[in-house]
Each structure stands twice: as structure tokens, then as C-alpha cells.
């Protein structure tokens, strides 16, 4: 088979895989079970994403001085503090 056809076949194959990804995603979304009923009844307010500090574990519930929790000039030192921005509600006047 000529080289150009081999290449077009390779691209077509990849394109088919890319087009199948949304179908896979939709299937997985349907298959994903709802969270445990016991957990839903806890009405949690945050995602368990980073557990190193209380204000990164529960950013929505963090107090207003989270970044300066030790004393007024203590800079943020947890690595996640540089990746996760402060809650939006702290930026509103």
C-alpha cells in the first residue's frame, strides 16, 4: 500500500477513536452510580481534593485569614496554597 494511504488510514483510525471518546464519556456518566446515600445525607460542602491543611480541605468553609493563620505576617507555606486560589467570597467586598 502506498505511504499516503497508510498515513490517511492512520489519521482515520485516530479520528474514529477521538469521535468515540464522547460516547465513552456519556456511557461512563450513565454507569457512574450516585454517591452513597449515607454520604449524601451528610450534606458535605467541599471536595476531598487536598487534605494537607484545613483551608485547602474545606476552601468553602475557610476562615477569612486562612493564608495568615499562624500570625498576621505568616505567608502561605502549604504547596497547595500556590495551586488553589482563595475562595471567591473572600474577594467580594
Amino acid at each position: 500500500m502506498r505511504r499516503s494511504l497508510q498515513f490517511l488510514l492512520f489519521i482515520a483510525l485516530n479520528l474514529i477513536i477521538v469521535l468515540l471518546l464522547p460516547l465513552h464519556a456519556r456511557n461512563e456518566q450513565h454507569a457512574a452510580a450516585r454517591h452513597d446515600e449515607r454520604l449524601r445525607s451528610l450534606h458535605v460542602t467541599d471536595l476531598c481534593l487536598v487534605t494537607e491543611a484545613r483551608y485547602s480541605r474545606h476552601p468553602a468553609m475557610a476562615d477569612r485569614h486562612a493564608a495568615f493563620q499562624e500570625h498576621p505576617l505568616a505567608l502561605e507555606y502549604f504547596p497547595s496554597g500556590s495551586l488553589i486560589t482563595p475562595p471567591a467570597l473572600l474577594n467580594t467586598p
Binding site: 502506498r2 505511504r3 499516503s4 494511504l5 498515513f7 490517511l8 492512520f10 489519521i11 485516530n14 479520528l15 477513536i17 477521538v18 471518546l21 464522547p22 465513552h24 464519556a25 461512563e28 456518566q29 457512574a32 452510580a33 454517591h35 452513597d36 449515607r38 454520604l39 449524601r40 445525607s41 451528610l42 450534606h43 458535605v44 460542602t45 467541599d46 471536595l47 476531598c48 481534593l49 487536598v50 487534605t51 494537607e52 491543611a53 484545613r54 485547602s56 480541605r57 474545606h58 476552601p59 468553602a60 468553609m61 476562615d63 477569612r64 485569614h65 502549604f78 504547596p79 497547595s80 500556590s82 495551586l83 488553589i84 486560589t85 482563595p86 475562595p87 471567591a88 467570597l89 474577594n91
Partner: protein
């Protein structure tokens, strides 16, 4: 029609041979391009899936959480607040919540301790997140001690372990009864951590919050919409990690495209000169360069997107896990449910493939329109 297809196939054949001739250069080019696509695509998939998860989890969050602040710090809320707030018109339920954190000196991990109103959970029993069970090597029925404020430790039996599917919600969680919670922390009677308020009509929430603040100036109401906004901000493309990675990737791509756009190598110029001198039209040369660019771009884009999808949804995004893990001892195992946003993929395509192809065509067009003799000599 058939002739036109044949012409394209012939030029594509030539383009592939030409790429193969400069194998080392083109493979390194493809590798950089692949990385330029793979990183932002992984990030887009990761963030979209987390946003979906956050939306699902926060749909069950309380309408309003009332905290109490003393000297700017969160403090315990007297239970009497709950009774007064329940009397505000529009409030349908006020649920006092008891929850806190526990530092486990045995493995250095932080746990979130929550209490459940569920009467089926008996005193001395606990439901634990899979992260806790993993780190302490516990099974259902295992006994484990927690260091209590009183001298004797609180011994709990694992009644159930939350499935790892719920890791993003409860990986670090230990759910116990309010009585065990009070014993564990020597929690003062008549006080709670915060109050979860439910309103009959969501539109009344800002008014209810204002009334709570006027009744108790030391209170701090947090609306559900504010919790949702917090997560929108965390996962927003303009902030934090997303911006950091996108900026680094885009900067490297701009340098890369700029290098391409500013000129051709002497070898490429000579090649164009030779092709023109043996009778190739300017349009043929441009088509050849277009196909050379398209081979690299299309391969990088399609393979990059597929690899990114597998990286995030099949291998749980190990690259980002390292960044997010930080000092966390307990880290949830991300089994994210895939989300694919076609709009974001189209934007990624337009921001990477189109500029690259243009950056290739323009200098070639300049070389192809000059005299073959000049092109070969330059």
C-alpha cells in the same frame, strides 16, 4: 476529481518521504508538538471532570451554613442560635452540625471527623473513607483507637468503608455518632461547629442571611451559591494551576512557532529551488508544505488528545496528582467520570494547529515565489 485526488496523494507521498529524510528533526518536532497538545488537553479533561464532580457534590450541600466568628476566627456556635434562626420566616429547617479535624500522629494524616444523624450508626462504630482505611490498613470489623481529649483513647469499630468511587467526597472522612464526637474532642455541651440552614425558597436566602447577621453580628452566613463560586474559581482556567500550566505551554509553543515563522533553513530553501527548477508550480510547493505541516499537526493533535484522555480517565492523572498532593498524607484516588467538552477541543485545535500551519506556509510562500536560481543560491 480523480485527478485532483491523485495529485494530493502524490504530493502527500512526497511530503512523507521528505519528512522521513529528516527523521530526527521531525520526530523531535512531533514530540514537542505532542506535549503542547497533551498537557492542556489533560488539564481541560481533568478540570472539566472535577467541575462536574463538584456540581454533583455541592447539589447536596446545605442552602446556607452559619458560622460564628470571634476575633476573625471561626468559633463554636451556641445551640440557642439554631432555635432563633429557625424562627426566621422562610427558614424550613436548621440542622446543628458537629464536625472537625483529627491529626493522626501514627501516620501524619489529617482526617475529617463528621457526625451523622443516622440512627442506624451505633455508638462505638464508625464509617470510614477508603483513604483512611487504606492508610491504616483497616477492614470492616477492624478496631482502631483515636487519641481522645480525655486520657483513655476512643476505640471505634469500622462498620463500613465508603466505596472508592466516593473518594472525592469522603476519602479522609470518619463518620461517628454525636456522642462519640463529644467524647473524642471533649466538645462543650450546648455548642456545635456550625448550622446548616434550609430555606423553602432559594430566592429568600440573601434576605435570610441578612436577617441572621442583624440578629447575630458575630455570625458569618455562607450561601450555597458562594460555595459553588468557590469551586468555579478554583477550577477556573484563569487561575491557579490551570493558568500556570497553560502559560508555560503556550509560551513554549509561541517560541516554537516564532522560530518556524521567521525563516527556512538553507536546506529547505535549496529544496524549494530545486523543485521549482524541475517544473513544480508555486501552488504545488505550497501544497507540499501544507501537507508536511498537516502530517505533523494532525498526528500531534489526534494522538495528543487520545493520550490525554487515557492519562486522566484511565490512569487517574498521575502528572497532576503529584502537583496537588503537596504535603497531604491522604490523597484520594481519582477515578474521575469522563467529561468531554467539544467546544474546548475546537478551541485547542484553533490555538495550536492553525497557527502552526500558518507559520509554516508563510515563509514557504515567500521562498516559492522567488526565482529558483536565487532560492538555491541563498
Amino acid at each position: 476529481m480523480k485527478r485532483s485526488i491523485e495529485r494530493h496523494l502524490n504530493i502527500l507521498d512526497f511530503a512523507l518521504s521528505s519528512l522521513k529524510r529528516r527523521r530526527a528533526k521531525n520526530f523531535s518536532l512531533l514530540a514537542i508538538y505532542l506535549l503542547v497538545i497533551f498537557l492542556p488537553a489533560s488539564l481541560l479533561f481533568f478540570v472539566s471532570a472535577l467541575k462536574r464532580e463538584a456540581a454533583i457534590i455541592l447539589s447536596d450541600a446545605p442552602d446556607l451554613v452559619v458560622q460564628r466568628l470571634i476575633a476573625g476566627r471561626q468559633d463554636l456556635v451556641p445551640k440557642i442560635y439554631a432555635e432563633v434562626i429557625a424562627g426566621i420566616s422562610g427558614v424550613s429547617e436548621v440542622r446543628p452540625r458537629l464536625w472537625g479535624y483529627y491529626f493522626d500522629s501514627w501516620n501524619g494524616a489529617n482526617y475529617t471527623i463528621m457526625t451523622s444523624d443516622d440512627r442506624s450508626l451505633k455508638q462505638g462504630k464508625a464509617s470510614v473513607g477508603s483513604g483512611v482505611a487504606r492508610s491504616r490498613k483497616m477492614k470492616v470489623g477492624s478496631m482502631f483507637p483515636l487519641r481522645a481529649e480525655a486520657k483513655a483513647p476512643l476505640i471505634l469499630e469500622v462498620e463500613s468503608i465508603f466505596s472508592s468511587r466516593s473518594d472525592l467526597m469522603a476519602s479522609d472522612m470518619i463518620v461517628i455518632t454525636p456522642e462519640d464526637f463529644q467524647q473524642l474532642f471533649n466538645f462543650p455541651a450546648g455548642q456545635v461547629t456550625d448550622l446548616a440552614v434550609t430555606a423553602g425558597n432559594a430566592r429568600e436566602l440573601p434576605t435570610i442571611a441578612a436577617k441572621i447577621v442583624s440578629l447575630y453580628p458575630d455570625s458569618r452566613p455562607i450561601l450555597k451559591s458562594e460555595m459553588q463560586r468557590t469551586y468555579q474559581a478554583i477550577f477556573d482556567w484563569r487561575s491557579g494551576m490551570v493558568m500556570l500550566i497553560l502559560a508555560a505551554t503556550m509560551l513554549s509553543f509561541i517560541i516554537f512557532a516564532w522560530d518556524k515563522a521567521t525563516g527556512l533553513s538553507a536546506e529547505e530553501r535549496r529544496e524549494i529551488g530545486i523543485l521549482k527548477s524541475i517544473g513544480w508550480e508555486t501552488s504545488d510547493v505550497l501544497l507540499l508544505k501544507f501537507w508536511e505541516g498537516a502530517v505533523i499537526s494532525l498526528t500531534a493533535f489526534l494522538v495528543g488528545v487520545i493520550l490525554a484522555y487515557f492519562h486522566v480517565f484511565f490512569f487517574s492523572a498521575p502528572l497532576f496528582a503529584q502537583a496537588l498532593k503537596g504535603w497531604s498524607v491522604l490523597y484520594p484516588r481519582f477515578q474521575l467520570v469522563p467529561v468531554l467538552d467539544a467546544y474546548q477541543l475546537v478551541v485547542l485545535f484553533l490555538f495550536t494547529v492553525v497557527p502552526y500551519t500558518t507559520a509554516i506556509i508563510v515563509p514557504c510562500w515567500r521562498a516559492a515565489t522567488t526565482d529558483p536560481d536565487t532560492a538555491m543560491r541563498s
